[in-house]
């Protein structure tokens, strides 16, 4: 018994402490170093932060280089797939583009109205610049959903900076290095975003699931029954972590039986991201300007100018539409004239035909009279023997012949 315990201790000691000829450190030393690193990395010392940042920069770049062959293969495969559906996608996109163009102008007007209203309630106005960032590492870890972008503190990225795919929210920055940053995606379990669900106007929090969809949490009891399929989920701006009104996704029901459960299908496909936008926000307090001030200071001039420009754009669009309508109107008028001429011609034709028909009828009547005249003329003609008859050519004679020789008393 004692011997077996001794063997165990010897084996353990050997495993921990013995260094082979090639090994420079014993495993026990490495365990201690690991634990020290874990403790140190959770502390916010400048030296640790700088070291960590340098390591991150190095590793992210190396990871990007190492991933190049795999990415080339993956992208080639995707491109081939895209080419096969290219034409259909093009047609769909063209139709959508037309729709979006018409929505664009009204959206801009709403934005400027919103800005003006914010000014009225003495809120802050945030001017934002969107910086295009390339995703250098997007390994889909089963545990954590994050991506690395090639913009860092050098480009004014901060912890909490919102990241967009076009205008859709994808996540926020959780770690910033000099030239790289880590973005926590909305699909990560640790992501929580305050949202509004429209059109029901329900407030909630969307959390990641680790999959490619999110789930709504912390809704006031009873309100979840009001949710419907395809409701739009966008940021509410509560807590001032995210800007309000940024679209995230739509609700999709997946519940079975009578109880409907909802999950959020993100507008953006996180596995297909190549480039994203980082929003650099600078907030400034709005000094309320006098409403009667019309001479135009710099603060009041810019939004006014911008609004005027938008209104001018809108006017141009309306004028263009009017021009289009006028041209169409002229065309229609010409067409109506043509049609009227055609109708006139046709009427003339009908009149001509009618005349021919009536002439034909007259001729037919005359023919009938002549035929009857041959047959019954002697009965109607006034003669020595027939003093009741009529003079040939008179109306009475004609009536008598047509009446087949009957002479009314």
């Amino acid at each position: 018994m004692a011997s077996s315990r001794d063997d165990f201790i010897i084996a353990i000691r050997s495993a921990f402490l013995k260094k082979s000829t090639q090994q420079k450190f014993s495993l026990l030393t490495l365990v201690f170093i690991s634990i020290s690193i874990i403790i140190l990395s959770s502390l916010n010392f400048t030296a640790v932060r700088v070291t960590k940042s340098i390591l991150n920069e190095l590793v992210y770049r190396s990871s990007f280089i190492v991933s190049i062959p795999e990415n080339i293969i993956k992208n080639s495969y995707k491109e081939i797939l895209e080419y096969t559906t290219f034409f259909n996608t093009f047609k769909k996109n063209r139709a959508e583009l037309e729709k979006f163009k018409s929505n664009y102008v009204s959206n801009e007007i709403i934005q400027y109205e919103n800005k003006e209203l914010k000014e009225l309630i003495n809120d802050f106005v945030s001017s934002s610049d969107k910086v295009l960032a390339k995703i250098i590492v997007d390994h889909d870890s089963p545990f954590l959903k994050s991506i690395i972008i090639n913009k860092g503190s050098k480009d004014k990225i901060k912890i909490g900076t919102s990241i967009y795919d076009q205008s859709y929210l994808v996540g926020r920055v959780v770690e910033v290095n000099y030239k790289t940053s880590r973005v926590l995606l909305l699909s990560d379990l640790n992501s929580n975003v305050p949202v509004t669900i429209a059109p029901q106007n329900i407030q909630g929090i969307i959390t990641g699931t680790g999959g490619d969809y999110g789930q709504i949490k912390y809704i006031k009891s009873g309100l979840s029954e009001k949710l419907t399929d395809k409701s739009i989920v966008y940021t509410s701006g509560t807590g001032a972590i995210f800007k309000s009104g940024v679209p995230i996704g739509t609700l999709q029901s997946f519940g079975q039986n009578s109880v409907n459960e909802y999950r959020v299908e993100f507008y953006s496909d996180f596995s297909q991201l190549k480039y994203v936008f980082a929003e650099i926000i600078t907030k400034k307090e709005v000094i309320q300007t006098e409403t009667n001030n019309i001479d135009g200071t710099d603060e009041s001039k810019n939004p006014l100018d911008a609004k005027l420009k938008i209104l001018e754009d809108e006017k141009n669009i309306i004028e263009q539409s009017n021009q289009k309508f006028l041209e169409e109107n002229d065309n229609l008028k010409n067409q109506i004239n043509d049609l009227n001429n055609k109708i006139l011609n046709l009427n003339n034709e009908i009149l001509k035909r009618n005349r021919t028909i009536s002439q034909f009828d007259l001729d037919k009547k005359e023919l009938d009279f002549l035929r009857l005249n041959l047959e019954y003329g002697h009965k109607c003609r006034k003669s020595f023997l027939n003093n009741k008859g009529f003079i040939v050519g008179s109306d009475e004679y004609r009536a008598c012949v047509l009446d087949k020789g009957r002479i009314d008393g």
């Binding site: 010897i10 082979s20 495993l27």
Partner: protein
């Protein structure tokens, strides 16, 4: 094999191949899940480290394994040192089993591997949940452990061919 030895740099590259693959795998984080199967993932570095440290492969330096762990933490976004600790613990386990085993058996190694990775993943999960307040899906860890265990035997047979090529 004699032919290989004459080609200096190629032989060197061939002998350093496992450590090179380890670094590529931690930097690339590949999990072969191109079909996007739910929960599917496996830990390739665990298989590689377990196999080569068990065979006491001379190029598989502990310090290099330790640095690979740091790289893995950086890429995945885990607190620095977690993977290094996991890899070091794996090395300790293999050193221990090497010391107590007189007659090695692949099947025994396989099940011992399952025990060790379950232990290390549990430790990982507990540390991240308790000390770093990470929200993690336990199912991911369980499936990851299961597939890592399953793939071990396949990769082990491939690695054996590699060692045969080196005449080890």
């Amino acid at each position: 094999m004699a032919n290989l030895k004459t080609r200096g740099s190629f032989t060197k590259l061939y002998t350093w191949l496992p450590i090179l693959i380890l670094y590529i795998s931690v930097l690339n984080e590949f999990d072969l899940n191109y079909l996007n199967l739910k929960y599917f993932s496996f830990n390739f570095p665990f298989i590689l480290i377990f196999f080569f440290t068990l065979k006491d492969f001379k190029q598989f330096d502990y310090i290099l394994v330790f640095i690979a762990g740091l790289f893995n933490d950086t890429v995945v976004g885990l607190p620095l040192g977690i993977s290094s600790l996991s890899y070091t613990l794996l090395c300790i386990a293999t050193a221990y089993i090497r010391n107590i085993t007189i007659r090695p058996s692949p099947i025994k190694d396989w099940f011992y591997f399952l025990f060790i990775i379950s232990l290390i993943n549990s430790l990982n999960y507990s540390t991240l949940s308790l000390f770093f307040s990470y929200d993690l899906i336990l199912m991911n860890y369980l499936v990851n452990t299961f597939f890592t265990f399953l793939f071990y035997i396949i990769f082990a047979s491939i690695f054996k061919y590699y060692l045969k090529g080196l005449n080890v």
